[in-house]
């Protein structure tokens, strides 16, 4: 019982962290295009092209 009363809140808190993480990812629009999210990570930029001349695009605001 004493073990439980420590372990259970710890488990719940840990899981609560994941719930918050999930809320954050929803807010971050990770679920807008599920098909694309799945493949996006395997697509890299080509390295051998010098793009230092390109101005870095500022991250646009998500919500307008």
């Amino acid at each position: 019982m004493p073990g439980l009363s420590i372990m259970l809140p710890v488990t719940v808190l840990l899981a609560l962290g994941f719930l918050i993480f999930f809320f954050w990812s929803v807010k971050n629009r990770d679920y807008d295009d599920p098909e694309m999210t799945a493949v996006k990570m395997v697509m890299d930029d080509e390295d051998d092209v010098d793009r230092s001349m390109q101005p870095k695009a500022p991250k646009a605001k998500k919500e307008k």
Binding site: M1, S5, V26, D33, M43, V49
Partner: protein, 837 residues
């Protein structure tokens, strides 16, 4: 994204273009030498071949911008970069419409045509983000839409469209839709699902401990501790995640309907509050786990259905606006492009070949040809003379037209029909009938069982009020299973998904129910049963010459380059024997025909009237059912007729088989705006005994209404604007995605491919889905049959309840999934990617 990437080795072994995958015509050489990495990782010198200069250029642009990886990611070939003439779109005007935000930046949503796989999305995003002045670009694969933010000081909308056109895609801005609201809604749903899923998982862990304790030993304090923790976790699920069910139940109660949500809410609340009582009193077992599980499962179903509805809607919006939003209007002697709303009565406007007439108008020139197929469904070209009325939605054929506007945008004929159809759609009877009926019977049944349990225990067993109430409540809890709640939605979702992969889009699962109940199928003729375009059916030669007269006629018509149903029929039959560059001095006479010079001789191709006007006397008579085109030329110093070609609309090749199949089960009716003769011919060919010709849009609507008054349920298939009111009035309106926009809007089912057999597929799917639903209901009823007597006897053990609740849910879901396997009659088609305007 499903499908594997395209390997270079596959391309190398075939004579196809590296970029677009089309066959390379013989004699065409467009090659580049590049070092390619083979599958084994070795580098080798290779030759990349292209079908045309356009593809080669696109390749070079993609390569030089550092996005060559596109070619190793793609799972489908790229769109061929031809015909994407962005010049004709008024990007400057669209650009002006967009208001800059507080930073002076502009944001627009573009529909990007040609996107069909993840690598297209990647490429477009990369190319756009590399462009100076573009602040951000996000492309969605699901909707084919790009959201682009740019700095107007550095770049404009046309330049953005140019960048996309340069890599072979076409970007068209779409009106800002309620996307934001849709996303908000979907995000809220996701959060509700997240909360339900999270607490469900945690409560299940505790439940395992409780179940174990039930059989071995658990002291009351630990038990209560577990109960309290479960209570804490179930509370947000009931009052946050399940909140929409409460709202829906309340709305339906106000309308005096016993809805499915009411059943869900009753079950959930009973289980919850009973468990709270158990927790506080320390007697019995709790049902907090069931509360969370049922909520989670139902939310998943709702979420998937919402996604499908959204997908269908976006698809419809992507079909593009039917009418041009820009007009070419003459102001002070100059032709300028303006917004359609600025047009006034009396304005003189120009309409270019191939464009749609934006407003009702009268012709301000001697003669012109139009195609009113969008409005009437009749595609034969019409000859208009000065002063004739030309309706908005007509297409300009041949040469440019000069028109005087007689209506404003608001009151044009087209807007009128659009409004009528929208009105009819709103008047559609409330759906959701099936689910409602099932739950109504069920609620009554459960309530009766509950009352009799109470009566039995209180009066016959004299058990006192508390045990009687407890037995009643536990009966109500086990009798409100999630299985029943899942029976209908899961079957619908599997069916919707399956239909989508086949090229059938449905507005919600309820359409399947309507399809199942249908007993009359009403078909439009032109464009539905027939292909809606002319083709050469027969030819007759008046000379013994060796010259290929058909190909000469084809070359003449093709070289004229005009948008015209007759021209298209000839262009389709063109095989290149007579080069289009060998004919010259082409003259088009609207409504008559065409003349041109070949080998130094003048040839004429056109109607009988045209022939008579140039002095040829023809024998025989013209049947009104088909169009005849004559070819004449100079022979021995005299113009004589050389050949005659018969053109007519073709019945779709799948139509006869389909009608044969459907006739056994359904009453088949054909409605057409066409004249009797041609209707009779088509009906005769297909064996349709019931047909009505000369039907105006209102007639079609009245016919559908009269069927409904007889208690019949109709499926109407049509494609023209003239069908749209009838489509909206029928129980299931079916249209092709390529059809006029308004008819796709008034339809509840949409075929993405021009294939009528999809109708039979959809009807079959509807029957299969119905069977699945009945099976599911029986399964969940069996569960009740087993548990209700136990509950009635007061012998219900929570463990049994939990096991059977899960088992019955799993059974129902698995059974629904079988639907995907049993519906296999048709061929599988690729996921629709291309959205045409």
């Amino acid at each position: 994204m499903s499908g594997s990437t395209i390997k270079y080795s596959e391309i190398k072994s075939q004579n196809i273009c590296y970029h677009c995958g089309e066959e390379i015509p013989s004699g065409v050489v467009h090659e580049l030498h590049r070092e390619m990495t083979t599958e084994s990782g070795k580098k080798e010198e290779s030759t990349l071949r292209f079908c045309c200069n356009g593809c080669l250029q696109v390749f070079q642009i993609i390569e030089s911008s550092g996005n060559k990886n596109y070619y190793s990611y793609r799972t489908e070939f790229a769109p061929k970069p031809e015909g994407n003439t962005i010049d004709k779109w008024p990007y400057e005007v669209w650009d002006l419409e967009i208001e800059p935000d507080e930073n002076g930046y502009k944001t627009a949503i573009f529909l990007i045509q040609g996107i069909h796989c993840a690598s297209c999305v990647w490429l477009n995003e990369k190319i756009l983000n590399q462009e100076p002045g573009v602040l951000s670009a996000e492309v969605q694969l699901a909707t084919n839409r790009a959201s682009v933010t740019w700095d107007p000081k550095l770049i404009n909308m046309r330049r953005i469209a140019d960048v996309i056109a340069a890599i072979g895609y076409l970007a068209i801005p779409v009106k800002k839709t309620n996307e934001k609201e849709a996303r908000k809604l979907s995000n809220t749903m996701l959060r509700r699902m997240g909360v339900a899923g999270f607490f469900m998982g945690n409560i299940m862990l505790i439940s395992v401990a409780l179940y174990a304790g039930y059989f071995s030993f658990i002291d009351q304090m630990t038990k209560t501790f577990f109960h309290v923790v479960s209570w804490l976790m179930a509370t947000p699920v009931l009052f946050y995640s399940a909140w929409p069910f409460f709202l829906n139940a309340w709305h339906s109660l106000k309308q005096r309907v016993l809805s499915m949500d009411l059943l869900t809410v009753t079950g959930l609340s009973l289980a919850y509050f009973y468990s709270v009582y158990v927790t506080l009193s320390g007697k019995g077992e709790t049902y907090f786990d069931s509360v969370t599980f049922v909520t989670f499962a139902i939310l998943i179903g709702r979420f998937i259905e919402t996604k499908y509805k959204e997908k269908t809607l976006t698809y419809l919006e992507n079909l593009g606006s039917g009418l041009p939003q820009i007009i070419h209007v003459r102001r002070d002697g100059q032709t300028v492009d303006e917004q359609i709303d600025s047009a006034k009565q009396g304005d003189i406007i120009e309409v270019h070949p191939g464009e749609l007439v934006p407003l009702d108008a009268t012709l301000e020139m001697d003669a012109a040809e139009t195609d009113e197929s969008m409005i009437t469904g009749e595609f034969k070209p019409l000859l208009k003379t000065r002063g004739d009325v030309i309706l908005a939605g007509s297409r300009c054929l041949g040469s440019s037209m000069v028109l005087q506007v007689t209506s404003t945008h608001e009151n044009s004929t087209l807007s009128h029909i659009t409004k009528l159809a929208e009105k009819s759609l709103r008047e559609l009877p409330a759906t959701q009938k099936l689910a409602e009926k099932a739950s109504e019977i069920f609620i009554l049944f459960v309530l009766l069982a509950g009352i009799s349990t109470f009566i039995f225990w209180y009066f016959f067993q004299s058990s006192g009020i508390e045990p009687a109430l407890l037995h009643t409540i536990s009966l109500l809890i086990v009798a409100c299973p999630c299985a029943l709640n899942l029976s209908i939605p899961t079957a619908f979702i599997v069916a919707l998904q399956k239909a989508f992969t086949r090229g059938i889009m449905l507005r919600g699962g309820i359409v399947l129910d309507e399809l199942y109940k249908a007993n009359v199928i009403v078909l439009d003729k032109t464009g539905t049963i027939t292909e809606g375009k002319m083709s050469i059916k027969g030819q007759k030669f008046y000379t013994e010459e060796k010259t290929d007269l058909l190909q000469l006629a084809c070359a003449l018509e093709k070289a004229s380059g005009i948008h015209h149903p007759i021209t298209r029929a000839f262009a389709a039959a063109y095989n290149g024997t007579v080069g289009t560059d060998s004919v010259h001095s082409l003259v088009t006479i609207p409504g008559r025909g065409i003349s041109g010079v070949y080998n130094g001789e003048t040839y004429y191709a056109g109607s009988r009237l045209f022939m008579e006007e140039i002095g040829i006397v023809l024998e025989g008579e013209q049947s009104s059912d088909e169009t005849l085109v004559y070819l004449s030329g100079m022979r021995n110093g005299k113009v004589v007729v050389l050949a005659r070609f018969q053109l007519s609309d073709t019945i779709r090749k799948e139509a006869p088989g389909l009608i044969q199949r459907l006739r056994k089960k359904y009453r088949i009716v054909m409605l057409t705006g066409d004249h009797v003769e041609s209707a009779a011919r088509v009906a005769g060919d297909l064996g349709i005994s019931e047909y009505y010709a000369n039907q105006k849009p209102e007639d079609k609507k009245e016919f559908i209404d009269s069927l409904e008054n007889q208690g019949l349920r109709t499926v109407m298939v049509g494609d023209g604007i003239n069908d749209s009111i009838a489509l909206a009035r029928s129980h299931v309106g079916v249209s092709f995605a390529q059809a006029a926009q308004i008819s796709t809007y008034s339809s509840s089912m949409l075929f993405l491919h021009e294939d009528l057999t999809l109708l039979a597929d959809a009807l079959e799917l509807a029957v299969k889905t119905r069977h699945k639903i009945i099976q599911n209901l029986v399964l969940s009823f069996l569960y009740n049959l087993f548990l209700l007597p136990l509950a009635f006897a007061g012998k219900i053990i929570p463990l049994y309840g939990a096991i059977f609740m899960s088992l019955s849910s799993i059974m129902v879901v698995t059974n629904s999934l079988q639907l995907a396997r049993t519906w296999n009659s048709g061929k599988r088609v690729r996921k629709p990617g291309k959205v045409g305007l």
